[in-house]
Amino acid sequence: MRRQKGFSLVELLFALLVLTIVITTSLAVFVERTRRLRQASELILVTQALANEAEIVRRIDFTPLDGLDDQFDTDLSILDPLRPFTTKVEVTLLRAGVKSVTMSVRWGKDRESKLTLLRTDTGGTNLW
């Protein structure tokens, strides 16, 4: 009797399954890597914008801090790739002589980055 040799259906399906797993895993890894790289890049841009704004906030006298605009004062061209985004500056009196200034940037669906500075009343001494 001539016996035909070849792959059975189970073997074929198993091979396809292995191939599918390899391709799917590779794709998932690449997609995740790209996503994280994009997130890290966005964070680098936002961090620079926050740090630049902090340079101004650090040097404003204690009393005028209350009159700070609730939007960023610095040039935000570096955040262009993140448009649309929103910025916010919030000043809170924690206790007498201590204020917190929280700067935040929101972009994308739900991404937000914040930087908080604590300012104390030095009694008029210039600590810029």
Binding site: R2, T34, S41, A49, A51, N52, D80, L127
Partner: protein
């Protein structure tokens, strides 16, 4: 009984074809990934020389002191968008003039001068693109320095403000 052994030519070609397609897909994805890498500012900031320049320059501006703070010239250099001259207080208590020169594409050179004579030189090479300078003004405060750099796609990758501190 005639027992066949091994794969037929057709089977081998078929298996190689599938393997080839898989390799092709992975190669395309890797190439695309590398292309994406270059577009992100992260790639720019990852450059070790960029970090060195940023940290050293931040330190210099932070330590800038009146004398004047930004001298008009030092050695052969004058203040431009590509050259920054700062009068910097050293930890020793003595001050010296520091020149940052970004005029050569891909390099950043820091030179120090004392009484007109050059004392030291440090150069960062292989920077992804040219760095440029601007002034940053906060009312009633000394001028700050704004350092800018664009990546190869023309997108701002570095925009950092350095402000002198009180001494």
């Amino acid at each position: 009984m005639n027992r066949e052994r091994g794969f037929t030519l057709l089977e081998t070609v078929f298996a190689l074809a599938i393997f080839g397609i898989l390799i092709f897909i992975l190669t395309v994805m890797t190439a695309e990934m590398r292309g994406n890498d270059k577009r992100y500012p992260l790639n720019y900031m990852r450059h070790p020389q960029v970090s060195s320049v940023l940290s050293r320059m931040r330190r210099d501006v932070l330590d800038a002191t009146q004398g004047p703070m930004y001298p008009v010239s030092a050695g052969p250099y004058t203040q431009t968008k590509e050259t920054l001259i700062i009068y910097v207080m050293q930890p020793s208590g003595f001050a010296e003039t520091v020149v940052w020169d970004f005029s050569v594409e891909g390099t950043a050179t820091r030179k120090t001068f004392n009484v007109g004579a050059q004392v030291s030189e440090w150069t960062a090479r292989g920077l992804p693109s040219k760095l440029t300078l601007d002034i940053f003004e906060i009312p009633d405060r000394p001028y700050g320095v704004r350092l800018l750099a664009r990546d190869k796609a023309g997108q701002l990758a570095i925009d950092q403000i350095f402000q002198p501190r009180a001494h």
